[in-house]
Amino acid sequence: MPPSSPLNETAAPPDRKSAGTVFATLVDFARRRPLGAVGGAIIVVMVMLAASANLIAPYDPLATDYAAMLAAPSEAHWLGTDAFGRDMLSRMIHGSRTALMVGLGASLLGASLGSLIGVASAYFGGRVDLLVQRVMDVFFAFPVIILALAVVSIIGTGVGNVVLAIATPMVPRCARVVRASALSVREMPYVDAARAAGFGHPRIILRHMLPNVMAPVLIMATAFLGEAILLEASLSFLGLGVTEPTAAWGLMLRGAAVEFAETAPWMAIFPGLAISLAVFGFNLLGDSLRDALDPRLRTQ
């Protein structure tokens, strides 16, 4: 087998790279996939805003100013204020925290649970596989938002529950993709070697199979982040997500924002823009990552 075989490609060098080569890789990625780099830049800005929200937000996002209710954008309030006189810009900056927390939490939870189920299903095969896949089919039958709504209506609202609700529809999607890769990994001689060595099932699944199906999981998780943020906004907008007074973009779009849409449009426009931009950023990055890591497209 020549050294440049696809088998070697999957054995992507996990050794530690120096800072210089990481930077070079990033520059190379940006040059090849400018859209992906734009998406990445949006996300980096968003992460920085969320991380330093306490420092850069001009006001407390929960502080009400009854002297300046529904104030139009001005020097004091760059993006205006809402019906309670809370500063829109501060609430948006703090809202990026909620969005990222829910998005990352849900993606991570959904991806880990889904990949675990997928790998186990492929490893055990036979009846276990059949049963697990049919259960996954049941989950698949529901549209994402309906499934999330159902989970929230059972376990209630709040950040933690919303994460769980958004992760739920991701589990079967991830499980299916991972199962497909795991089926081929299952046939690799190193898995046979692990079985012949008398290792237990959990060890073979977690140590020998899971690390070798992580590439599609990472891509799915990135792509799902955007969807999770949108889902969180939708749930919050429907009143079944994050609850007041937490600053969340979807929540800012509802209630007074609808009522005063004509007289105070900034209340709806800016959170809406933020949601669009974030989802756009994550989708661009997710797509570019998928293309960049797909060996069939790599020759470009």
Binding site: M1, M188, P189, Y190, R195, A196, F199
Partner: protein, 327 residues
């Protein structure tokens, strides 16, 4: 035969293909009644064409596949009846070396991790430092360097990887190693090194090998006895010398006559047995002797009844109606 380490009797492995919903499943008769013994310390070569079931025999012995029928007695214990839990202890004593050194090592683990994992799981070596020392010892034993422990499989060459595969098999101090075409994916020069390493290890550690291969000259070099398989059955089983110099079964003769002689004048003058047709599908093997449709000597009885594996001469077994026991 003094003390059989492994005794395989009437091993059968059938695979069902297709049609689990309504449709009738077909059966691939991958292994169909294979019996042999391996004595402690010897090397049994198992040769045959691609798809004759030799790898499946190895996988059944290792319990990577559950046999459909037959018995596999290893070191006094019948493996076919053992539960998963009891198998673990047996598995330590029975290891495997795979054909493809590229896919037989987990690409996400360093060589050190690969080699120390069995030591940890089976609690063979307690303590991290002791395990590291043992890994170093294993690496040196197979002709690698201690610093290779920190490398990942993709940073090694094919020959080095195969040495790691051998070290992994040795880690648990097994008594039997199933070598499933351990050199056929390697360059010829590397093949010789690996074969010599295997022989050297056998002499030092008293290992027993089941050496599965399709390369007749490699098998001749390393084996004490050789079994020839065709379409899921053993055709002939004999001492290396007897098998290569006085083959009894027509299939073995055809197989041996296909090995080129590295001397043009001899090569030009020798008789070549060329078989007609293709190997029949194990989905639908021929009745009677599985070799009869291609056998140059076939008679009517060959299609009618299955020839059993009979001892024609002392220690020389063949499954053919046409060879008669001498004495």
């Amino acid at each position: 035969m003094t003390q059989a380490l492994l005794e395989v009797s009437n091993l059968v492995k059938h695979f069902a293909v297709g049609g689990w919903r309504g449709g009738k499943a077909a059966t691939v008769r991958a292994v169909d009644g294979v019996s042999f013994q391996i004595t402690r310390g010897e090397t049994l070569g198992l040769v045959g064409e691609s798809g004759c079931g030799k790898t499946t025999v190895g996988r059944c012995i290792l319990q990577l596949e559950r046999p459909t029928g037959g018995r596999i007695v290893f070191d006094g214990a019948d493996l076919t009846g053992l539960a998963q839990h009891d198998l673990r202890a047996v598995r330590r004593k029975m290891q495997v070396i795979f054909q493809d050194p590229y896919s037989s090592l987990n690409p996400r683990m360093t060589i050190g991790e690969i080699l120390s994992e069995p030591l940890k799981v089976h609690r063979l070596v307690p303590g991290r430092a002791e395990r590291e020392a043992r890994v170093r010892e294993l690496l040196l034993q197979v002709g690698l360097l201690a610093q290779h422990a920190r490398r990942y499989p993709h940073q090694l060459s094919g020959g080095q990887r195969q040495r790691v595969g051998i070290a992994r098999a040795l880690a648990m101090e097994p008594s039997l190693i199933v070598c499933d075409e351990p050199v056929s994916a390697l360059d010829v020069s590397i093949q010789a090194q690996i074969i010599n390493l295997l022989e050297d290890l056998q002499a030092r550690l008293g290992l027993t090998y089941l050496f599965i291969a399709h390369d007749l000259s490699v098998v001749r070099h390393i084996s004490d006895r050789v079994a020839v398989m065709y379409l899921g059955r053993i055709m002939e089983l004999a001492d290396r010398r007897a098998l290569y110099e006085e083959p009894l079964h027509p299939y073995t003769r055809a197989l041996l006559s296909a090995v080129p002689i590295p001397d043009p004048s001899l090569e030009a003058g020798r008789e070549r047995v060329v078989l007609r047709g293709e190997v029949p599908s194990p989905l639908n093997p021929p009745a009677g002797c599985v070799f009869h449709p291609r056998c140059p000597l076939a008679e009517a009885r060959c299609a009618a009844s299955v020839p059993g594996l009979r001892e024609i001469k002392p220690g020389h077994w063949a499954a053919c109606h046409l060879v008669d026991p001498i004495a």
